[in-house]
């Protein structure tokens, strides 16, 4: 049965956001809200479509991390098939996931956040952008491009350059890796690792300058959620769910991802199209948690690769004790993860089994419900499908990495506003700090909305009666 679903408003907007700051009688910030104003509707328009279309279709959710959706979707389809995929297929998928992590984290650090970090929060907004960075730090900009290129080249060597992604398929991958491609990928890694190590060393020297930002950019007492290996180490493709609290105590451990609904509730608010996931046992909104690089490093016992473990040990010294609590340190965590990804790809590709020809399990759908979970660059990504006996989607639930951080992003905006906003006297520097705290999370607002420079952003400042006292609009 064919159906037509009309989606309005049709958006070619990418991440239009609005922030509302509420002031009390004394002119102090009493509330702050981050509004996501665009609507996508993937969970609705995928209904009625064959499950085998889902990997290709949901990969279009995002222009920058299609691999994450491709993998989570295929894992959900593996579950529908009730198959365990061949070990080599899993390793190949892991390589692809890590390659994407490198290119996505490189974009966030080198091109989106570097204008603030290198040029200053209060620098001239006309040049506080990537071209300003290129002028003052051209090698850093080139390094970011090169890391992105290395990640993209590995993805394309594995998956091809076609617009119809067909390499990762339900049951594994559809083509084994050749020795020639393996060698070509391995040849890229030393340069990438060198760039990553140098960038990390450079950023370490900058971190002490950002003491104030670390205090006010989302320094929150929240839980942390991520996948970990059965040994408790850093994990990005598979593994088990761990949730820790703000003091580092483990609340949930070794939970199969298929049980995510026992742990995660999803609230909605009328001011945003983004869901507000929360940790169910604590209720909403007390169950606030963070995902992504900061959470993954806080939750992991170790990375399991030499240089990344050295960097992880240094990361833990950013704070006297306990998990690293400031969202400002997402930047640091991303650099550690880039190092890890490059080291781990080398290890995976050096394993002779990576060339094994058994890379796909074949089956038809054997159950009507499937769940796939992987770590996207921004955090834990959940695809959950139900199908009918014809293999058509009857229901879909997606929890996107950025969504997990929604409560934390709102809390972070409030913290920044309380620290920097002076009543109705809204200054550009304040606006930039609000943007910057959002950028710490590297949010992907539905598809492809990152903010740098001139992010379309509106800040409304309202008095206790709701009257708008000031509006600053950009973009």
């Amino acid at each position: 049965m064919s159906r037509t679903i009309t989606i309005e408003p049709v958006t070619r907007i990418e991440g239009h956001a609005r922030i509302t700051l509420q002031l009390d009688d004394a002119g102090k910030v009493s509330d702050a809200r981050f509004h996501l104003t665009q609507f996508r509707g993937f969970e609705k328009f995928c209904e009625g479509r064959p499950y085998r279309e889902m990997p290709a279709l949901t990969a279009r959710t995002c222009g920058i991390c299609p691999v994450s959706h491709l993998l989570a979707s295929n894992k959900a389809c593996d579950d529908l098939l009730s198959v365990g995929i061949p070990a080599t297929a899993e390793r190949l998928r892991r390589v692809m996931n890590l390659a994407q992590l490198v290119q996505s984290h490189a974009l966030s650090f080198f091109h989106l956040s570097s204008p603030d970090l290198l040029l200053g929060w209060d620098s001239d907004p006309a040049s506080r952008n990537i071209f300003g960075v290129m002028q003052g730090h051209p090698q850093l900009a080139r390094d970011g491009i090169r890391l992105r290129q290395i990640g993209q080249q590995i993805i394309e060597m594995l998956g091809g350059k076609k617009i119809h992604p067909t390499w990762v398929v339900p049951g594994g991958v559809n083509e084994p890796l050749t020795a020639e491609k393996r060698d070509a990928m391995l040849a890229l890694l030393p340069e990438g690792l060198e760039i990553a190590k140098e960038s990390y060393a450079f950023f370490k020297t900058l971190v002490p300058k950002f003491h104030q930002e670390a205090r006010h950019f989302g320094d929150l007492q929240t839980l942390f959620l991520s996948l970990i290996t059965p040994e408790g180490d850093l994990e990005h493709y598979d593994g088990l769910i761990r949730i820790t609290d703000a003091h580092g105590h483990i609340l949930e451990d070794m939970v199969p991802p298929s049980e995510y609904q026992r742990l995660i509730g999803e609230a909605v608010e009328d001011f945003s199209y983004m869901k507000f996931p929360y940790y169910k046992p604590l209720g909403y909104p007390r169950g606030i948690y963070r995902v992504g690089p900061l959470a993954r490093l806080n939750n992991a016992e170790s990375c399991g690769t030499p240089y990344a473990d050295v960097a992880l040990a240094e990361f833990r010294t950013l704070q006297e004790s306990g998990p690293i609590s400031s969202s400002f340190h997402y930047h640091y965590a991303r650099l550690v993860e880039i190092i890890f990804a490059l080291e781990m790809m080398k290890r995976l590709l050096k394993d002779p089994q990576i060339l094994d020809h058994r890379v796909r399990a074949r089956a038809r759908s054997n159950q009507n419900e499937g769940i796939g979970v992987a770590e996207a660059p921004r955090g834990t990504l959940i695809h959950h499908y139900r199908i009918d006996d014809e293999g058509l989607l009857t229901w879909m639930n997606l929890i996107i990495a950025t969504g997990h951080n929604n409560l934390a992003m709102n809390a972070s905006i409030r913290q920044v506003a309380e620290a920097y906003v002076d009543g109705a006297n809204v200054q550009e520097g304040m606006l930039n700090r609000v943007e910057a705290v959002i950028r710490c999370y590297d949010p992907c607002l539905s598809c492809a909305s990152h903010a740098f420079g001139q992010m379309p952003l509106q800040v409304d400042v309202a008095d206790p009666t709701g009257r708008i006292l000031a509006t600053v609009r950009r973009g």
Binding site: I5, R49, R60, I64, Q135, P138, A141, A451, G453, Q454
Partner: protein
């Protein structure tokens, strides 16, 4: 900043871009696929991308000619447009995931001191609503003409001033045919 190009094109880079699930926005990737399927001369690289990203900059710098293929929002669907592009840092993307081709050229100029002659070959879309790799009728009918325009640009190297020497279907040399 524009690299002189008074010799035949040796390395051409063709990038068809757009979302395959947003109706006619898929025209860029689909034309790229058509070109790849039909075969292109040695030295021509064809890429299909969802969006334009910064990792393309080194590939752009290494080419003698770069051609972008895209859908545009305004105009008569199916009409073929071809215009030269220049680096323009003022097109800096408010959303950093997707870059304008002129911004990519500006990245190239800023970081590598040059960019090759560049063109945008496009057609206005009729519908950008959800469609899984599907085009509207007028735009689907333009696939071959767009591919032919790209082949023409590759075959006849652009002039040193960046203007295309190929004439359009009407023979008047304008950028829209």
């Amino acid at each position: 900043m524009l690299a002189p190009s008074d010799t035949p094109v040796r390395r051409a880079l063709v990038i068809g871009y757009g979302s395959p699930i947003r109706g006619d926005d898929a025209i860029g990737p689909l034309v790229a696929e058509r070109l790849e399927r039909d075969g292109v001369p040695a030295g021509v690289t064809i890429l299909a991308r969802h969006i334009l990203t910064a990792d393309l900059v080194p590939d752009i710098c290494a080419a003698d000619l770069v051609i972008f293929i895209d859908a545009t929002p305004d105009g008569e669907p199916g009409e073929i447009h071809c215009r030269p592009l220049a680096a323009d840092p003022t097109t800096i993307a408010p959303m950093a995931h997707a870059l304008d081709p002129r911004e990519l050229l500006a990245w190239a100029a800023a970081l590598y001191d040059h960019h090759p002659p560049a063109y945008l070959v496009s057609t206005p879309g009729h519908s950008f609503a959800f469609a899984h790799f599907g085009l509207s009728e007028p735009v689907a009918g333009a696939v071959e003409a767009l591919a032919a325009r790209v082949r023409g640009l590759i075959a006849e190297p652009p002039g040193i001033d960046g203007q295309p020497v190929v004439s359009n279907a009407f023979g008047d040399g304008s950028m829209t045919s």
